[in-house]
Amino acid sequence: MENNAFYVALSLLLNFDAPLYQIVALSLQVSLLAVLIAALLGFPLGAAVALWRFRGRGGVIVVLNALMGLPPVVAGLVVYLLLSRAGPLGEWGLLFTPSAMVIAQVVLVLPILAALSRQKVEEMLGEYREQFVSLGMSRARMMPTLLWDARFALLTVLLAGFGRASAEVGAVMMVGGNIEGVTRVMTTSIVLETGKGNLPLALGLGIVLLTLVMLINAGAYLVGEFSRRRTG
């Protein structure tokens, strides 16, 4: 039976089965957009925490680090409560739409990007600080310089964030609803199809997801190698 399912899964993939690729496309859209938004917010946030000394800074760092391990279902629950009809953002009518899934993934990924970029930027700042002060740079001016100089490290961080977003199932299931053709992504379909006993489709999606994760990790490795050689 398993061998049979595996065979069918491969043929679905190789024949570009439309529903399967629709699901893959939506997954990529949601996760890429979520990571992009999280990066635009998280990198400056991480750099700011690295640069400025303020009251409660230690607390912020602890919270960011802790939120890296935020259980997806908890993130899903929070976003669900915010977006549900009776919730504060209920008027937007976003619950059970791809937008809601993007928001949930931003919540999951943002702490990872902010906490890891804070670490990278702070390490780099330790090395650069005297030179920066010597050049007369303000902290605000240091931020873009540090973010650019940490670009290879941050790209690895970005890939880690994308890995988390694309592999996660609990949050998107809760706020997306796994509606066929609308909010069904790879992880939620795998859960559903496995439950229904439709193992070929589940397995096909599993293969795609696994391949994606492999590619991401290979990318992270290559970026690291390249930057070591390029920038020393």
Binding site: E127, E130, V133, S134, G136, D149, R230, T231, G232
Partner: protein, 247 residues
């Protein structure tokens, strides 16, 4: 020597270098006095070489003068009460993870040099320090000597009125040391006040106009170079010059 036709570059050469005043400056860390109290004036033409054994407080004095550190007590001031344009070259050059030319362009951009002038000034700076062929090379894969020359080029394009150098040659081979010393002389000829630390007496003899001698966190003497090397006034300086181990 190429001359660089830029108003940004020529302005400092026309002025005499600003004078630096240390007035009862002390620097302490965790209740322990690391430097001072010291009072002196740097108003000669220099170059001023700051000498003394390890741990005498040479680097500390430079960082206080440059404003990287604030004195615990006392004041660091400049003539006309105006802080001059200044730059510092460190023992280990701190270069950005970018190409050589991008390092200079970054420094120019930080100093609000108009965008259109940056690339030209940067390439001229690289040429002057023999790095023209390495413009696109990542700064951090350059050799130690090239990196230090790039750090000097970065200081050069900012046309500082004062240049601090903290043991700039201590990690370099003789050829690279020669290039750095030539660069220091060029800065000096351009009218830049040079304040440089070294523990190498021979280097000090080659470069110094006056010597500020430190030991144990105190300024022991500040005299013209000839007088310092021929007839040192303090016991500590005499011992240092004759090669005894000074604490």
């Amino acid at each position: 020597m190429t001359s660089l036709n830029s108003p940004f570059l020529t302005s400092s050469a026309l002025l005499s270098p600003p004078a630096l005043f240390f007035d009862g400056v002390t620097y302490s860390h965790e209740e322990k006095v690391l430097l001072g109290p010291c009072s002196f004036t740097l108003d000669g033409i220099g170059p001023t070489l700051v000498m003394g054994p390890n741990g005498a407080g040479k680097s500390l004095l430079l960082r206080l003068a440059h404003g990287l550190l604030s004195p615990t007590e006392g004041r660091v001031t400049w003539s006309d009460n105006r802080t001059p344009r200044q730059a510092m070259v460190f023992q280990q050059p701190v270069l950005l993870r970018r190409s050589a030319v991008a390092n200079l362009i970054h420094a120019l951009s930080v100093n609000n040099v108009p965008y259109r002038q940056r690339a030209k000034l940067a390439f001229n700076g690289l040429e002057r320090f023999g790095l023209g062929a390495y413009a696109k090379t990542p700064a951090r894969v350059l050799s130690g000597g090239q990196q230090q020359r790039l750090a000097l080029a970065r200081a050069w394009v900012l046309s500082p009125q004062v240049l601090f150098l903290d043991e700039p040659t201590s990690a370099l081979d003789p050829a690279a040391i020669k290039a750095v010393e030539a660069a220091v002389r060029e800065f000096h000829q351009r009218g830049t006040r040079i304040v440089m630390t070294t523990h190498d007496i021979h280097q000090a003899r080659r470069l110094a106009g006056d010597v500020l001698f430190l030991s144990g966190g105190k300024v022991r003497e500040h005299t013209p170079a000839e007088a310092f090397f021929d007839t040192p006034a303090s016991r500590e300086a005499r011992a240092f010059i004759t090669g005894e181990l000074v604490e």
